[in-house]
């Protein structure tokens, strides 16, 4: 059975191997038969053959041998250097990976610690008020109740920041200074009103309660007694 001729594309694909003698006898025969239909490809074959005929005398390996003759020695020296250099571990991927990994871990730890510290220093107003109310020893223990009311102690007032320093850092204290100032102001207002009350306590109200029951004689007696009072 006669095989169908090769088309132009197929001929082009086989052309180099045909010129370099790498086709088998069957392919060779088919190529020579099919190319008769394409005169421009016949010309192409002639061009390639004439050039590569002149190039076939080239000794590329000899040229390359010249260019690469020192490579074995250089490679050997470099390998020896790599093996004997004590600092070589610095350039090894494993070492670089470990160092990079440690760096990342340290970075993450430092970020976490920074966040924790930030959480303790940045206190919103509500938290600050609650802390003041719940955790801080009373600034003015005298105000805890009217029963325990006593005169203000100037020394305790001067220790005022120290009381907070036990529970907060100074930074937190100053960052919340506005809140504390409010609290102090409120406390002073309360204190003044309580003190007003305190100085009115000695008044004897029995006289007022029985005032309507007094008669003329009682009044005269009171006036007589008042005359004996030294002002």
């Amino acid at each position: 059975m006669e095989q169908k001729n090769l088309n132009r594309k197929q001929l082009e694909e086989l052309l180099p191997d045909y010129v370099f003698g790498r086709l088998n006898s069957h392919e060779n025969e088919l190529f020579e038969k099919s190319i008769q239909n394409y005169p421009e490809l016949i010309q192409e074959v002639e061009n390639v053959r004439s050039v590569f005929y002149r190039l076939q005398n080239m000794d590329i390996d000899r040229l390359l041998d010249k260019k690469t003759k020192y490579i074995p020695v250089k490679v050997s020296q470099r390998l020896h250097h790599e093996r004997t250099n004590p600092l070589n571990f610095l350039a090894k991927p494993a070492f670089v990976s470990i160092v990079a990994g440690l760096g990342v871990v340290l970075l993450i730890v430092s970020i976490i610690f920074t966040r924790i510290n930030k959480d303790t220093t940045v206190i919103d107003k509500t938290t600050a008020r609650n802390n003041v109310a719940d955790n801080v020893p009373p600034i003015f223990p005298q105000l805890d109740g009217l029963d325990s009311l006593a005169l203000l102690d100037d020394e305790k007032l001067s220790d005022f920041p120290a009381l907070y320093a036990d529970n907060f850092s100074l930074n937190a204290f100053y960052s919340e200074a506005d809140n504390i100032e409010d609290i102090v102001n409120e406390s002073l207002v309360d204190l003044i009103s309580v003190n007003d009350l305190f100085f009115t306590v000695p008044f004897d109200d029995n006289l007022f309660k029985n005032f309507e029951k007094l008669d003329e004689t009682d009044f005269q007696q009171i006036i007589e007694e008042l005359k004996n009072v030294e002002l």
Binding site: K9, E13, L64, T68, I71, V75
Partner: protein, 194 residues
């Protein structure tokens, strides 16, 4: 195919030698056997003998240091080829960046021109120069054409092997091979007529 099986056998012997602890012998044999191959691969990319030599050294140092991990899923030659191509491409990238820095941002297109080195009339007949011109012409071909031509013409690899190595269809390789041969013939004809 005979050549390929012989190569495989030889590679196997070299690797067995290496596994037995005769590292020096195995290393020397690998470098001696493949230095021209690796050098030519690098040269086709960087188009400069000095840089190709540096890259060849880099390739051997890397491959020989990792030789104990080589699983033999491909041939040693294939492995060397891939490392050489990667290193050459990295080198080209570095050169482009350096060129950009030197030119202060004015990027220079490093794509090679399809030209022929200008040799004096007296030297033209020298065989060495014709060989170098030929290598330069090959190096200046587009990458696919250059690689398929080199692997087929210099390394006598089959299209199937080249296809596996380059990840290109056999049909595409044959077309590239034809275009490469035609361009080389045209350029060398011009050179030989001058």
């Amino acid at each position: 195919m005979v050549t390929l099986s012989l190569n495989l056998q030889n590679e196997k012997e070299i690797l067995e030698e290496f596994a037995r602890g005769n590292v020096e012998q195995a290393v020397n044999e690998i470098v001696r056997r493949y230095k021209n191959f690796v050098f030519l691969v690098a040269f086709r990319y960087v188009k400069n003998y000095d840089d190709a030599e540096d890259i060849t050294q880099e390739v051997f140092v890397e491959v020989l240091q990792k030789l104990k991990y080589f699983r033999q899923e491909s041939t040693l030659k294939t492995w060397l080829y891939r490392v050489a191509v990667n290193k050459s491409k990295n080198w080209l990238r570095k050169q482009k960046v350096l060129a950009l820095i030197r030119l202060g941002g004015k990027g220079e297109d490093n794509d090679p021109e399809f030209d022929i080195p200008d040799y004096s009339q007296d030297d033209k007949l020298e065989k060495k120069e014709m060989e170098e011109t030929f290598l330069q012409v090959v190096a200046n071909l587009p990458e696919k054409q250059r690689e398929v031509f080199s692997l087929r013409y210099f390394e006598h690899m089959s299209f199937e092997e080249i296809s596996k190595l380059l990840g290109t269809s056999v049909g595409g390789l044959k077309a590239n091979y034809f275009h490469a041969v035609r361009k080389i013939a045209s350029a060398m004809k011009q050179y030989l007529q001058e």
